[in-house]
Amino acid sequence: MTVPHAQVVGWIEEFASTVAENREYLTQLDSAIGDGDHGINMDRGMKAVLGKLEGLEGDDVGGLLKTVGMTLVSSVGGAGGPLYGTLFLQMGTATAGKSELEPEDWAAALDGAVDGVQMRGKAEVGDKTMIDALVPARDAFRSALADGASFAEALNRSAGAAEEGMQSTIPLVARKGRASYLGERSAGHQDPGATSSYMLLKTAAETWSGGA
């Protein structure tokens, strides 16, 4: 299995509609420990991305992902904008020139995503951020490949790891982002950014493998 350009577009569209459906949910999570706008911000950004996709030509996956990143940077704002923007920009760099993705390309894209978010936000696993979903997802994808799993199977294990990572944020005290201002009061709530990152990985698995 490889993932052609059109399916990458499909994934982005699917992520956009998942974010739109979960706009209230993400915002609610952010109200508890942040400023109640994560769903609103991501939805505004992904709607802008959908608008950009329409006019897009060619089949360069890297170019596509960079466009997504640039659009998020200039339409989301807040923490989500630079973080998701950098995530997609780095994914785009990792996949520049490809018209379809091999498993190894996606592994490189996930490396770029994690590195980009960490370069921007300087968060480690356990800080109660997106990173808590992204790092396990990247690691699970690579080790699934090492175990000889199929691309589809690896995507599913990656999404499962993201889900666990997302859930692992619940008891944590936030050390990065707005939630960190709450100190101990941030414990007991699921991180909104980790939740949207799980959605990102889950929609990739669903769109490309049919599984979840």
Binding site: S31, G77, G78, P82, K176, R178, Y181, R185
Partner: protein, 333 residues
């Protein structure tokens, strides 16, 4: 949700249109990307000051654009940091060849977006110095966290650095001064009521009729502690004590005392707060040499107050007193 608005999505745009219509003598507003620059920008040979942040804190920052204060402000969506393209356009529009200082409140979003903008601006050959304001003692400071939020000291830094830039101090001098203001300023705030983000339509947090939040930020985020409603004297004590003991301010120090309203609190209450603060500082032998009392850094219609103290020296005092002419702060001009 009861507000004097049209559609929730149009709040920021229409408020900016109102600013543009009201103050053509002081400023110009650009739309898409949104930013505000002083009417005579760029001022050649002067260091330019750019700030920005989420909307909903008015008059900060747009209301501080003008002679003696900011050269540009980048308003984001309500409570959402603006984007790098706003900042880069604003930076280019005000650069007068002497470099640009970005005054950034320490929120992850603001810091990261300004960082990206500064990288881009430097790529285009503009000298940019970024200064991060992190004065909120309600937040425990630590190397491993995002650190303290930027709140009231931001207003004072923008005024003081604006005066220094007007004097044609160099980029390094203005940036250094801004860091000095930050190091000498401390704040803490509280809320009597929540605010309502227009796009959300419901209060960000729920407070009982007899409850208050101590240690809030400026985005409707809950504070560090929920308490029973208390007299102004106790509230001021809870805010001012951690402020005073953090720096620490010492007997004989001269300070600028800034009593800020959160947006829904009227002047009569702010003067009662000031009265308590004045007594508290007098008891500790700290002298209020300058003051600022009013709603300058707000959280939409939130009722509440924040207290900022800035330790003064002769230079800071002189620059504070220098003329300023903006929609939100004006004297001597």
């Amino acid at each position: 949700m009861k507000k004097l608005i049209n559609k929730p999505d149009d709040v920021v745009t229409e408020a900016l249109q109102g600013m543009a219509a009201a103050h053509p003598d002081l400023l110009r507003v650009s739309f898409g990307p949104n930013y505000i620059v002083r009417a005579d920008a760029p001022v050649q040979g002067k260091v330019a000051l750019v700030s920005g942040g989420g909307s909903g804190h008015e008059p900060m920052h747009g209301g501080f654009v003008g002679m003696g204060m900011l050269d540009a402000a980048c308003p984001g969506d309500v409570f959402t940091s603006p984007t790098p393209d706003q900042m880069i356009e604003a930076t280019k529009a005000v650069d007068g060849g002497a470099g640009v200082v970005h005054i950034v409140k320490n929120y992850t979003g603001d810091v990261m977006n300004f960082e990206m903008a500064a990288e881009l601006a430097r790529g285009e050959g503009i000298e940019v110095e970024a200064v991060v304001i992190d004065d909120d003692v309600a937040v425990q400071d630590s190397l491993y966290t995002a650190g303290r939020r930027g709140v009231g000291t931001t207003v004072l830094a923008e005024k003081i650095c604006g005066a220094a830039a007007e004097e044609k101090q160099s980029l390094q001098q203005v940036a250094e001064l801004c860091r000095r203001v930050n190091v000498n300023g401390r704040s803490m705030g509280m809320a009597l009521t929540s605010c309502i983000v227009p796009a959300a339509g419901t209060p960000t947090f729920q407070l009982g009729e007899d409850e208050i939040e101590i240690g809030i930020g400026i985005h409707g985020e809950p504070g560090r502690e929920r308490r029973k409603l208390a007299p102004a004297s106790e509230i001021v004590e809870s805010l001012a004590t951690p402020v005073v003991e953090d720096l620490p301010y010492e007997e004989g120090d001269q300070v600028l005392a800034f009593v800020n309203g959160m947006g829904g609190t009227p002047a009569i209450e702010l003067y009662i707060v000031y009265n308590e603060l004045h007594k508290l500082l007098e008891e500790r032998g700290i002298k209020i040499a300058r003051n600022l009392i009013g709603s300058y850094i707000t959280s939409l219609e939130m009722a509440g107050t924040s207290i900022t103290l800035l330790k003064l020296d002769d230079e800071l005092t002189r620059l504070w007193d220098a003329p300023v002419r903006t929609p939100g702060l004006r004297w001597g001009a």
